[in-house]
């Protein structure tokens, strides 16, 4: 870091610029000046599936982050905050970074599918970014987060093979990993890099038209780079039998799986991870070879319903349906602040004043009074009151 950024990030400067902080002053002069927070300017928008008329549009956005961006490892995600037009409300969602690992201040790309689910018919961040954002749009970013990353580089470590399984938009972190492996691999003549370990890349998409990165994947498949690409469409859904055919010893192979929760449940079962009866996502016998990331917590079906949920600040009450508190609040017409809806961004933290909640990610139950909980991943067990 330069001396300037060290000084600007110092406590003395924080004291001088209180209560707003130094970034509020820097951005008065230029939107790309920042000392602590991360912002990014959209410098390019590229539609990935212009021919897919039946499914949601997908676009790749190239972002130039502020100099405060610390870089990312392939497979990580970033929180993107957007001041939505009309409501002026900042909404935050997480997106995997689709470009190869970046260094501080370097450009990154996000590949995003427009998805209106979970917004009650309103505008979603992804829809805005894909359909409405223009080059020059400023976004709020977090630093890169997440551990869905490769622990090695193409030139380090042993020859252990790697397996990547993805579905739909879950291709993005895997794509970032493939791109990083190829970019950093030793070059063999003019044909590009060749990784020192066998990589099997299995992806499930709705249709060939809906396949994003199709040309790039075809090129990777054709080149001599030690990477096998298997693309499956439509009815060719995931099966353990098929996986065993591709990678006979898959259970003992380092695997990264990313996709919709349905796919991830199947993959987990194939790896011997038995989901708990509620489908809460907790595992009874985790397989250390398998790393997963999924879009939404698996829906709760049984077990927790019954009793009454009350949102004390708004006065809304309803019968406990067993869904997460965020879902139940929204079903009652409330509009609480929320972000990632998967328990990572802490935008939706509220105080549970009374009752028991279960963390739908871990299955852990807690009955502490006046406890701060993330309502997007907390489902009430029996009666429950939340200050909301």
């Amino acid at each position: 870091m330069t001396l300037t950024s060290k000084v600007l990030g110092s406590r003395a400067v924080a004291a001088l610029t209180s209560p707003h902080g130094v970034d509020r002053y820097l951005e008065m002069f230029h939107p790309m000046w920042a000392a602590i927070e991360v912002r990014a300017r959209v410098v390019d928008i590229h539609r990935e599936n212009p021919d897919a008329h039946g499914s949601a549009p997908v676009a790749t956005l190239t972002l130039q982050p502020t100099s405060t961006w610390r870089g990312h490892r392939a497979g990580q995600y970033v929180q993107v905050g957007v001041e939505m037009p009309g409501s002026a409300r900042r909404m935050t969602r997480c997106f995997s970074i689709s470009s190869a690992a970046s260094l501080p201040g370097e450009r990154i790309t996000l590949t995003i599918r427009a998805n209106d689910e979970g917004t009650g018919g309103g505008h979603s961040v992804s829809t805005f970014l894909v359909n409405e954002a223009k080059v020059g749009q400023m976004l709020h970013l977090s630093q890169a987060e997440g551990d869905f990353t490769l622990p090695f580089t193409p030139t380090t470590g042993g020859p252990d093979p790697v397996l990547m399984i993805s579905g739909g938009s879950g291709i993005t972190p895997g794509m970032a990993q493939l791109r990083t492996l190829l970019r950093d691999a030793p070059r063999m003549g003019s044909s590009g890099g060749r990784t020192n370990r066998k990589v099997t890349f299995v992806h499930f998409a709705r249709s060939p038209e809906d396949q994003i990165f199709a040309d790039e994947l075809a090129a990777i498949a054709a080149a001599d780079n030690n990477i096998d690409v298997h693309l499956r469409y439509g009815d060719q859904t995931f099966s353990e039998f098929e996986l065993r055919r591709l990678v006979p010893d898959f259970r003992n192979t380092d695997t990264w799986a990313c996709g919709p929760s349905g796919l991830i449940e199947l993959v987990r079962a194939a790896y011997g991870e038995v989901a708990t009866p509620e489908g809460s996502g907790a595992t009874d016998c985790p397989n250390p070879r398998l790393r997963v990331e999924f879009f939404k917590p698996p829906a709760l079906t049984t077990g927790a319903a019954g009793g009454e949920v009350s949102f004390t600040r708004s006065g809304a009450t309803g019968e406990n349906t067993g869904a997460t508190l965020l879902d139940q609040a929204e079903a009652l017409g409330l509009n609480p602040e929320s972000g990632c809806r998967m328990g990572i961004c802490f935008s939706c933290v509220k105080t549970k004043t009374d009752g028991t909640v279960r963390n739908v990610l871990t299955g852990e139950e807690s009955s502490l009074p006046d406890e701060e909980i993330r309502i997007c991943v907390s489902a009430p067990v029996g009666d429950c009151s939340v200050d909301l």
């Binding site: 001088l16 707003h20 902080g21 001041e83 009309g86 409501s87 900042r90 909404m91």
Partner: protein
């Protein structure tokens, strides 16, 4: 900590609301309920309409305040411009405390989802730590507004601002205490949360006080370091003139905020309430109490901005979490509702309101006169109101 354990000696029995309006409305419980529903509808309409204009407004105010701040801090390098520097810094500090700090910390802009304008995160440029203040102000004062024995903003534990506060010779100094509170308002607000008066009376332990005191010490240190050491030091040879300038700007803000705030609840005609009247009160009665317990100041647009729209204290108390820039438009409808239900709407010019406050401060430094000479005659209120 709860505030339900009020010692019985404070819970005096009083059966009337003191509202000076001769046409004090004897609203029935049904009328109150209807009145509350109309207020709720008003509030809902504005909340549903919040959007880009409100966001743009608060961002514009923050930007202007920052420009005044930069100008003020920078002009101290130019000794002949000292009065200008103090003026710019005073404007910045007033804007920050009134239209930004107070309102942001009320959660008026939480809906924007901007962490920089979030009530849980923002901590204003004053010695009172946000956490303490939010408890004492947003919760206690705004919930129990003008309930004697519950609302600690009646006299701030130092002054006698209501006839029903028992007189003792200490209160002969009422005008002096008020003057000192004006000069040291920032310090006073910071220490207010210590509730020193309640330590004296044994309602609060030293242990509790220490817990509240720690963040105060930290915040006061931060403010002193910034205004009386760091910024003066940065101006090098002008250290002393910068230090004095910062002190004057803080004084200007103290005097201004004291006067605006004292016009909010202490002008003649503002009602106080007993705990009995407010037990299990309906939402309609809560609105009614906020209305009778607050007073507005008339003025131009700039005046309203510089007072953080607390010149619309009535609307602020009815709708504390609605962005303050909406109060002027709300006041038109609130007044119409007041006329419909025959409820007094207390408003007047700054000098008029201040004059009645000053008179009250002086009058209450002496024991109560006989009731018949009381300028604010007690008026019976239908029992239904308190139900």
């Amino acid at each position: 900590m709860t505030i339900t354990d009020i010692p019985t000696k404070l819970a005096k029995k009083r059966s009337t609301v003191r509202a000076s309006d001769p046409k004090n409305p004897n609203l029935t419980a049904e009328q109150l309920e209807e009145f509350g529903a109309e207020m709720d509808a008003l509030r809902q309409r504005v909340i549903a309409d919040l959007g880009e204009e409100d966001a743009a407004y608060i961002r514009m105010i923050v930007k202007r305040q920052q420009q005044f701040e930069i100008a003020g801090r920078a002009l101290f390098y130019l000794p002949p411009a000292w009065p200008l520097a103090v003026a710019a810094l005073s404007v910045s500090k007033i804007l920050e405390n009134m239209e930004i700090g107070h309102n942001v910390m009320h959660g008026q802009y939480d809906w924007m989802g901007d962490p920089k304008l979030n009530s849980r995160i923002y901590d204003w440029d004053t010695m009172a730590p946000g956490e303490n203040w939010k408890y004492g102000h947003n919760y206690i004062h705004h919930t129990y507004t003008n309930i004697l024995g519950k609302d600690r903003d009646i006299g701030y534990g130092i002054l006698r601002m209501d006839e029903d506060q028992k007189w003792n010779p200490y209160y002969l100094g009422n005008p002096l205490y008020a003057f000192l509170l004006m000069v040291f308002f920032e310090e006073g607000v910071a220490l207010h949360d210590l509730e020193v008066d309640r330590i004296r009376s044994g309602e609060r332990t030293w242990e509790e006080t220490k817990q509240v005191g720690k963040p105060i010490v930290k915040k006061v240190g931060k403010q002193v370091f910034k205004d009386y050491l760091l910024f003066p030091a940065l101006t090098g040879p002008f250290f002393v003139s910068t230090l004095i300038g910062n002190a004057v700007a803080n004084l200007v803000r103290n005097v201004w905020t004291f006067n605006i705030i004292f016009c909010g609840h202490f002008p003649a005609g503002v009602a106080t309430f007993t705990e009995e009247e407010c037990e299990n009160e309906s939402r309609g009665h809560w609105y009614y109490r906020q209305l009778l317990g607050s007073a507005n100041i008339t003025g131009g647009k700039l005046f309203h901005i510089m007072s953080g729209n607390l010149s619309h204290q009535i609307e602020h108390h009815l709708f504390p979490d609605v962005p303050a820039r909406r109060y002027p438009e709300l006041s038109v409808e609130v007044r119409a509702l007041c006329e419909k239900y025959g409820i007094e709407y207390n408003t007047g010019g700054l000098t008029h309101q201040l004059w009645t406050v000053a008179k009250k401060i002086v009058r209450l430094s002496f024991p109560n006169a006989k009731r018949k000479t009381d300028p604010a005659p007690a008026t019976g209120l239908d029992d239904a109101v308190a139900a």
